[in-house]
């Protein structure tokens, strides 16, 4: 946590997050209502399953991916849950206010919670660069600003540039990385380098947790990449391409990491991000690629580039994307 405030002030910071939660409550009271239309139960369960997959990626995947980067691994999982729960509430509101007219209530559907969870993930990606340098209030402000910015950018993309729902979501990785780097740059004047290095040290024990997070992301990435596609054929193609790109980037990343080590060992910090690079690379185009070899080439290049970047730069977890 930051140490520039006296203890009395620092102790009161969380009061603001409680006040924010109360403000959310009032806004939901006046401006929202549930969707009460009757829907096909099968379709409903399908959306619920995808929502569950996305929530597993967000809460377990990103939660544990960052757990080895800090001295207090468990609290990074708690912060992750906090930002997810807060971000989803805010994203539902922002999405609603941008899409509907102001004199009607915002209708909350299962699919709008799914969309909000995906938007809130931008915060979870950015937070990897900021963890250990920001307190609870700074993280909260960052979450609100980032979700607003991301949802607005998506709206502009869709309304004025004609990008479809799926593609505008896939820019999340680029957006979140640069947003995280920008926030780090703003915050970076306070902590001296010595502290930084210490906070980036990883422990052997928690690396298995990071691997756990990586595997959850690896398994549910096809669900993420196909979540916003409505046509079954496109959805199937998206699952295929994401799966092949992930498989090839995993093999490439682990091989190249072993190759770059003088005694043939695998570098843990390389793997966590490079294994997933295929899923990021194939994201925007996964529903139009028609052959496995193209997805595999993308996965291969993504694995190479992210390991190469990690070797050249000194801050691997910043360089690679998230």
């Amino acid at each position: 946590m930051g140490s520039k405030y006296p203890p009395s002030v620092r102790g009161c910071l969380p009061l603001w997050t409680i006040a924010l939660e109360l403000a959310f409550l009032v806004i939901f009271f006046f401006f929202t209502s549930y969707d009460t239309s009757s829907q096909d139960p099968k379709e409903l369960m399908g959306i619920y399953r995808v929502l569950q997959d996305v929530t597993i990626m967000a809460a377990l995947g990103f939660g544990f991916l960052n757990s080895s980067l800090r001295r207090y691994g468990w609290s990074s999982v708690a912060f992750n849950l906090f930002l997810l729960a807060l971000g989803v509430q805010w994203a539902v509101l922002v999405d609603g206010f941008l899409e509907w007219s102001f004199y009607k209530k915002v209708i909350i559907k299962l699919s709008s919670i799914k969309l909000a969870t995906m938007s809130a993930m931008s915060v979870l990606i950015s937070v990897g660069a900021v963890l250990g340098k920001a307190n609870l209030l700074q993280l909260t402000v960052m979450a609100l600003v980032e979700v607003t910015a991301f949802v607005t950018v998506r709206m502009v993309d869709r309304k004025y540039l004609g990008t479809d729902n799926h593609t505008s979501m896939m820019y999340i990785h680029v957006f979140a990385t640069y947003f995280g780097l920008m926030v780090t740059w703003c915050l970076s004047r306070s902590p001296p380098v010595a502290v930084l290095v210490e906070k980036h040290q990883t422990t052997k024990n928690s690396s298995l947790f990071t691997m756990l997070g990586t595997l959850f992301l690896w398994i549910f990435w096809p669900s993420f990449n196909s979540a916003l596609l409505d046509i079954p054929k496109e959805r199937k193609t998206a699952v295929f391409n994401t799966y092949y790109a992930l498989a090839v980037s995993a093999v490439t990343a682990i091989s190249v990491s072993a190759l770059s080590h003088p005694r043939g060992k695998i570098n843990m910090t390389h793997i966590h991000n490079a294994v997933l690079a295929g899923g990021v690379a194939v994201g925007a185009s996964c529903h139009v690629i028609g052959t496995p070899w193209l997805a595999m080439v993308l996965g291969f290049m993504a694995g190479l580039i992210s390991i190469g970047g990690a070797l050249c730069l000194r801050f691997p977890h910043l360089a690679v994307g998230f």
Copy 2:
């Protein structure tokens, strides 16, 4: 484990659990058969998915939630699995014998295994208060008595008080907490306080596992709260309300926990239960609440109360519910 028995007797205690398993086998041989009616395959897969969600909550969620409370974390996960596997078998039998007439065989359906898993969860909730004070045989007896009591109470609720299937299940948290406290009180005469304190000490390493259990419960709680509802609209409302109550209680609990610490840190033992308090609070009424703000108020109050209770009382994991 208890130390009041000589080694020779203590070594033989597990023989009783094997004898019990053999007795189950004989009962299943004479009194049960599988459901052989043909069913809509889609509906069947739907029930199987919910059964899977509930099993993940029971085996992973509760298993790892208790893993930091004992010196030997891994054996608490093993005990949890033992009680789950035993409890489900017994709950299927008790449910069957209470519902059907005695001269017909008990028909085992997928939905009856789902129901039995939910009933067996009462044992997993109670066991948090007892772990470290009971041996394998005592836990087995507790599981049999508690499942019998809970299934009977549910049957009385439904038949004579007119409560519906869903609501009578949601009393599980209250029932299991008081049952657990009662068993602790009965067992509490043997171990001196010094041992108790030592056994309640948590280790840094295993707290991430507890967080893992908490997250599994957080993710799959909407499935639990909507598992026994048949009407699609009610099921959708239950998912909505549980989701919002959980989100608000997570934000509230983490904020209040940071507020109560002089240096703004988050207390791990607070979080594990308070984050889930929203799901418990909204349980019985989640299918009838029609607006998000009401679920959010319930989640807010639940988060406040459970952190408040943990701060006032000295045994947080007993005070909060499970």
Copy 3:
């Protein structure tokens, strides 16, 4: 890793795996294409869910099951992911080349990726006996040979012995165990016994991870045993029988393990395999067993035999199967 090569040679070994990945790319370019037929979206999602379950078993279950057996737990999870990603690509190709004629392209369906994941699991089962004794290249060769052998044996089974798709898959446990033992025997001449013992030492911390892997396998085993059955009634029966066999083998294994310990404690290394023995035992016949007691007897015997085997033999994780 093996130490018989000089550092310069050892450093180049991963180059071969990258070359292999490039070769795969070329083969996929010339010989495969995606399935572009339109399919019922509900059925598609059903296959995708089963694929997800099988991937969770493979990546998380087997990944963490082996994580306590080595000094570097996390790298065993990484090797597991490497072998899974490589094995699935190869299994799709071998399956395709054996089934279709050579002058047509191999059509990749979602169900063929599901089948390939199940075939690739044979490598993950075998690798438990080899971990710590083989380097990346040796593991790669083993994966290619084992997948080719297993897919060919299955094809011979189906075409010439008339075994159905489901039953021929269920021999995977026997096949993979003996294959793993054979590979261990071939590799066993190099490392002295002292190293072996040290590498088999387990750490307290990672045993919870092993338990995590065991629980994932326990939860998703019914999905594995019913994945290749097409008739809904058979699928339901398979879920029932696997569930009951697993429940009984868990209770039996934990009881017998406590019984065999002089102070009534549970031996961790016993549990990990014996808890799952019921699922293996019921595998080949789970769709034809018509009564719960028969599945329970099989689970009971499997639990007894695998704990008994672990007590008699000195290498429990080799003796039990995986």
